[in-house]
């Protein structure tokens, strides 16, 4: 009894499927015939009709071109925004500062270095040069050594955050590359830094 039931169901499904397939193919045929009829239509459109069609086509082309232009502008704007955001991110990540005659990293410097490490991890093609700088108080030779120490101290911290040492170069400029030259604490502070220069491999 059960076996007959299954057989019947399969048969019914088969019939139904055949009916549906045939039903679907019918309108397609009709469409093809319509197209053939339209293509072989003997009488052409009037001059006005052609002009209207041309104008419509031109309007469509123009709209397309304008759209393409708008898309292009949008892409460029997005690229500019992205580059600006990247530049501003790099600018935030361009320098850390030190106390007089010290090379130890402040909490703020470590925070910046954490972001530098994230950036380097996210961009494996980037390498980094760390330039150590000093204010002009103190001795020029000692400051060359101190600048090296500042750059090294930043490099070592990045290493502990998992950045490969070979991606980092350090160089000391001592007091030779000041950002400003006033004899004020604000200017001295600015000049006591490690500056990060990123390069694409």
């Amino acid at each position: 009894m059960m076996r007959y039931g299954i057989l019947l169901a399969v048969l019914m499904a088969f019939v139904l499927a055949f009916t549906l397939t045939t039903g679907c193919s019918a309108p397609k045929k009709a469409t093809k015939e319509d197209v053939t009829k339209a293509g072989t239509k003997p009488a052409g459109p009037s001059e006005e009709e052609l002009a209207r069609q041309r104008a419509e086509q031109e309007a469509r082309d123009r709209a397309l071109r304008e759209q393409a232009l708008r898309d292009q502008e949008a892409r460029e704007r997005a690229e500019r925004d992205r580059a600006a955001a990247e530049a501003s991110r790099l600018k935030d990540l361009s320098r850390i500062y030190f106390d007089f005659d010290r090379a130890e990293l402040s909490a703020e410097a470590r925070e910046t270095l954490g972001k530098v490490a994230q950036l380097l991890k996210a961009s494996p093609g980037k390498s980094l040069t760390i330039e150590g700088n000093c204010d002009d108080r103190g001795t020029n030779e000692y400051n060359l050594a101190l600048g090296q120490r500042r750059a090294d101290s930043a490099a070592r911290y990045l290493q502990t955050l998992g950045i490969e040492r070979k991606r980092i170069k350090t160089i000391s400029y001592g007091e030779e590359r000041p950002l400003c030259s006033e004899a004020t604490e604000a200017c001295w502070h600015k000049n006591r830094n490690a500056t990060f220069v990123y390069t694409e491999k």
Binding site: D101, G138, T139, N140, E141, Y142, L144, A145, L146, G147, Q148, R149, D152, K169, T170, I171, S172, Y173, E176, R177
Partner: protein, 439 residues
């Protein structure tokens, strides 16, 4: 470098050596800190063949010799208006000298001279007298071209210095230094008296820390000209430059060994900034310090047995001493929180350095046995980077005052400060040549 003039031929005739060398008396004890300036009279020179049109040479010789002697800082050149007699008219030989007329105005020495001109040829006679004892100390005759008269005067000034101080002066020495302008620094050199400035490098980079070799033929320096702080040596005669140390990290030249074959350097090649001996023949480096702190600016003692250097191992930069092998390290300076740039006196156990005093930096001198440092620079502003002259009688240094930087020379007791170069934005690291014998 000032070129020898082959054409210049000096005939130096010792007219009379009244004082035998064995009995040589030191008239001026330069090393005494309380030394008074030595009063000396320089008369107008006698126009011996009455050469027409050369009358102005008579005071020119007196003025030039007076100024040359004055530069040394040892002399009080007496005003010619105060002279009681016209020695040029009376005669310049010993028998003509009116000794009482010179002691009466406070002179201890007298210089007389005469010249004769024939065409472009000049003959110059110079005499130095001890007017207290009434005797001739030294007499010389020079012949050459009239254009060479300045060199003749400087040569006789050297003779006066030998006679009165026991040693010739420093007119044949130069001082090199780094000068900065527009973010670029180059090495320059100038004569002891501030004449004949020359630019020795032209890299448009950062070039610093010149150090003159004891043989006078080479100058080592640090330059970023190839991108990194590398050491180079300039051969002053051949005008060639050789890179001697490049590690991709910081390298600083410092003291040369007495034989000019080795150099003390600071390098961070092994991690921290440490002191090494660099063998110039094969580039081999021997490490002397291993402390993780900054160790920089080493200088050998004159006998090569000890080294003074700067270290911040105690928390602030201070001067330390160690044996030449790197052992027996001991701290020398304790006063003030920032003492750097040690320079070992060429003939004694004194070290000049730059120390923070009263909110600014001054040149200090301290005996290596310790004791109280003596502040020798007293002019206003900030005074730094001391370098001794080869005879230890002078210190070259950089003075920063009123927004201006200058290279200066002072006598070792801090008197007679003279500017030898100015006009660039900033100066650093003067270094004094040995005698180069160009006079």
């Amino acid at each position: 470098m000032k070129k020898y003039r082959i054409a210049l031929f000096f005939v130096c005739v010792l007219l009379l050596a009244a004082v035998p060398a064995a009995e040589a008396k030191v008239y001026i004890n330069i090393d005494s800190p309380s030394a008074q300036k030595f009063p000396i009279a320089v008369t107008a020179f006698k126009n011996m063949n009455n050469a027409a049109g050369q009358e102005s040479l008579s005071p020119w010789f007196a003025d030039t010799l007076g100024k040359t002697l004055e530069i040394t800082g040892f002399f009080n050149i007496l005003d010619r208006k105060a002279f009681l007699v016209d020695q040029a008219k009376l005669g310049i030989a010993t028998e003509n000298i009116q000794f009482p007329a010179w002691t009466a105005i406070g002179a201890e020495s007298l210089v007389t001279g005469g010249f004769s001109v024939s065409g472009r040829d000049l003959t110059l006679e110079c005499r130095l007298f001890d007017v207290v004892q009434g005797k001739l100390l030294v007499g010389k005759r020079y012949t050459g071209k009239i254009e060479e008269r300045k060199e003749m005067v400087v040569r006789f000034a050297q003779e006066i210095l030998i006679a009165l101080t026991g040693e010739k002066g420093l007119f044949d020495t130069k001082i090199a230094f780094a000068g900065k302008k527009g973010g670029v620094s180059e090495i320059y050199a100038v004569n002891f008296d501030g004449t004949d400035p020359v630019k020795l490098t032209n890299y448009g980079s950062i070039t610093l820390s010149p150090k003159w070799s004891p043989d006078g033929k080479q100058l080592s320096f640090l330059s970023y000209k190839d991108g990194n702080p590398d050491l180079h040596v300039l051969d002053l005669n051949r005008k060639t430059v050789k890179r001697i140390l490049s590690t991709g990290r910081l390298n600083l030249p410092a003291s040369w060994s007495a034989d000019s074959k080795r150099m003390l350097v600071t390098s961070s090649k092994d991690g921290s900034e440490d002191i090494y001996i660099l063998n110039l023949a094969d580039g081999r480096m021997t490490r002397l310090t291993t402390d993780p702190a900054i160790d920089v600016s080493p200088t050998w003692s004159p006998d090569g047995r000890q080294i003074a250097f700067v270290s911040d191992r105690g928390g602030t930069p201070q001067i330390y001493l160690m044996d030449a092998s790197g052992g027996n390290v001991r701290r020398l300076t304790f006063e003030g929180g920032y003492n750097t740039s040690p320079a070992w006196h060429p003939r004694s156990n004194r070290i000049a350095y730059e120390g923070r005093a009263g909110g600014t930096f001054q040149i200090m001198v301290l005996d290596t046995a310790g004791g109280t440092p003596v502040q020798v620079s007293t002019n206003g502003g900030r005074n730094e980077n001391p370098a001794w002259s080869p005879d230890g009688r002078y210190i070259a240094f950089v003075s920063r005052a009123g927004g201006k930087s200058r290279v200066c020379v002072m006598n070792s007791n801090g008197t007679n400060v003279r500017v030898i170069h100015e006009g660039l934005e900033a100066y650093v690291s003067p270094t004094w040549s040995p005698h180069l014998n160009f006079y």
